[in-house]
């Protein structure tokens, strides 16, 4: 026991019981036998009068049970000099005899019987106990909400909401959230723009609670915060820009299925808690910890609904061409996410192309238009290819590289078509490019492929990016740290 506040165990034989447990009731005669021959200390979790004979010490606040990791009653512990030497759980005659050094225990009882769950691990109590006994690990300021005050309205009034209600981050909820990671609450995660303070795991957990996350989502949120808040991704720039971009989080790996993320029908839409709340938690971190709010440092002219949350999973278990994370150097099968500075999704409809060459040319035509057909190389894009489109390529044996290569072939335009003023349109590339024979739409690696969506519909989605590379934002991929 490392916790200095843990109640020490008395020397001798310690037994933890509760009346509600039939096995505990069954072993009462054994406890009487032990009381006659060893230094016995019985702790009772529920009824202080149980077992009566021998008399028990009430563990009413469950401190002994909590700090000594009691998961089953009865638990029998041999203790010396305040420290545990051995333990057994449930009723097992041989184990009890060996541990206590007393022979012929419970002659009328069956040789063994499993115990019951300890109250200290009761799901209805465990969050409360975590707050009661683990308080010292949290360092955030406590804010008391007056009895007459509505906590949801109070959080709106303080500016902590993205426009939708947020869950009150009580100590119980934050402690429960922190169970989702093995990292210490005080661990520094990242430096959050625009105010550039270092955030720790605890503060990320607070935003995760407010966003509506479950504890098992927390490692994804922590990884997203790390991936977004650095010079490479440049979250500060995303905030400050007048363009309608936000961090788009693309997740992959078996962990996405373990936490119930949606990579299928409506993957980019509403209705899935993990998709929606992981992306939202990242944005709440930036808003509330970083101080990045619309109308202040966030100067977006229009914004987009994805700035509430834009997070989805790739269907990597069925993808014909792997994942974006693997394209970015992560080992296959590893849980990972990519953050991308992106706008809201825009559609690509092609219900007629059945040959891969046709579909590649068709997709290229659509991609040429992102941001502006005459602007090139400045913006990356992610294609979220639906299964029906992907199948056209997969059936022809085209892998990721082949698809990207073939699409890129159709994305080369002569400078004369792109230059400012061409086709009567002022926007375009500078005059210096007018004589270029062929100019690509995307920089190398700037067009990225992902796989998600429902099984019906010859559609894909395109997520257009912001200023790319060293001047703006680079996509950042990280393995999820648990």
């Amino acid at each position: 026991m490392t916790d200095p506040t843990a109640p020490p165990l008395p020397d001798g034989i310690v037994v933890i019981v509760k009346r509600e447990c039939e096995t505990c009731q069954m072993v009462v005669p054994v406890l009487r036998e032990l009381a006659a021959s060893v230094e016995l200390h019985v702790y009772t979790q529920d009824d202080p009068d149980f077992p009566g004979d021998p008399a028990a010490i009430p563990d009413s606040d469950l401190a002994v049970s909590w700090f000594h990791d009691i998961e089953t009653v009865p638990t029998v512990i041999r203790s010396r000099d305040g420290a545990e030497v051995a333990r057994t759980v449930g009723w097992a005659r041989e184990a009890w005899e060996e541990l206590t050094g007393v022979d012929d225990l419970g002659g009328d009882l069956p040789p063994m019987r499993p115990g019951c769950g300890s109250m200290s691990v009761d799901p209805d109590l465990v969050d409360e106990l975590r707050v009661r006994f683990g308080r010292s690990t949290l360092s955030s300021r406590r804010i008391e909400v007056a009895a007459a005050e509505d906590e949801f309205e109070m959080m709106f009034a303080r500016g902590w909401s993205d426009g939708l209600p947020v869950i009150p981050p009580t100590e119980q909820r934050v402690m429960a959230m922190l169970e989702g990671t093995s990292r210490a609450p005080s661990d520094i995660v990242a430096t959050i723009p625009p105010n550039l303070d270092q955030i720790n795991v605890e503060k990320v957990a607070i935003s995760a609670v407010m966003a509506g996350c479950k504890p098992e989502y927390l490692p994804w949120v922590l990884t997203a915060v790390e991936a977004a808040c650095n010079d490479e991704f440049n979250m500060h720039g995303l905030l400050a820009t007048t363009m309608p971009v936000g961090p788009v989080v693309v997740c992959s790996g078996p962990g996405t299925r373990a936490i119930g993320m949606n990579s299928g029908g409506n993957a980019l839409g509403q209705g899935n808690r993990a998709n929606l709340t992981i992306g939202r938690a990242l944005q709440l971190v930036v808003r509330n910890f970083g101080g990045g709010r619309p109308g202040e440092v966030d100067r977006a002219a229009h914004g987009n609904p994805g700035k509430l949350s834009f997070c989805f999973a790739e269907a990597d278990d069925t993808s014909p061409y792997g994942t974006l994370a693997v394209e970015h150097g992560i080992e296959p099968g590893v849980d990972a996410l990519t953050v991308f500075a992106g706008e809201g999704p825009q559609g690509f409809v092609d219900q007629l192309s059945r040959e891969p060459e046709q579909l590649a040319a068709s997709l290229a035509m659509r991609l040429q238009a992102i941001q502006h057909p005459k602007l090139i190389l400045m913006f990356d894009a992610i294609v979220v290819m639906g299964p029906e489109h992907a199948r056209v390529f997969a059936d022809a044996g085209w892998d990721r590289d082949r698809i990207l290569w073939e699409v890129a072939l159709h994305l080369n335009q002569p400078g004369a078509d792109l230059v400012r003023g061409a086709h009567g349109v002022a926007e375009g590339v500078p005059e210096a490019f007018a004589d270029a024979e062929s100019l690509p739409k995307f920089r190398p690696g700037g067009l990225m492929l992902t796989y998600a969506g429902g099984g019906a519909g010859l559609f894909s989605q395109i997520i257009a990016g912001w200023v790319n590379g060293d001047k703006g934002s680079k996509p950042v991929t990280r393995a999820v740290q648990y």
Partner: protein, 91 residues
């Protein structure tokens, strides 16, 4: 009563007073910071002409990219070399 945890950074913001506005720019060094937006230089060229015309010394600076905050070294350089700074934000 509900107790909740503060989601903010809990930092106390230090308010710094602005320097007094100079009565005249004559004889002062004015820094012109181009944030690297297209045509910001057109605007700053004209401002430079006007400032030189009223007796100011002008120094020109440029951010590596408009999409990121000015690097610390650049901010320090401007602060040590100039009394006044004008930042061009426009496209």
């Amino acid at each position: 009563m509900t107790t909740i945890l503060d989601p903010t950074s809990e930092r106390t913001i230090v308010e710094r007073e602005r320097l007094a506005r100079p009565a005249s720019l004559e004889g002062l060094t004015v820094g012109l910071l181009d944030i690297s937006k297209p045509r910001g230089d057109v605007f700053l060229d004209r401002i430079e002409e006007r400032l030189v015309g009223i007796g100011a010394t002008v120094k020109r600076y440029e951010k590596p990219t408009f999409a990121k905050p000015a690097p610390v070294d650049l901010r320090h350089e401007i602060a040590t070399e100039c009394q006044v700074v004008i930042e061009a934000l426009a496209d």
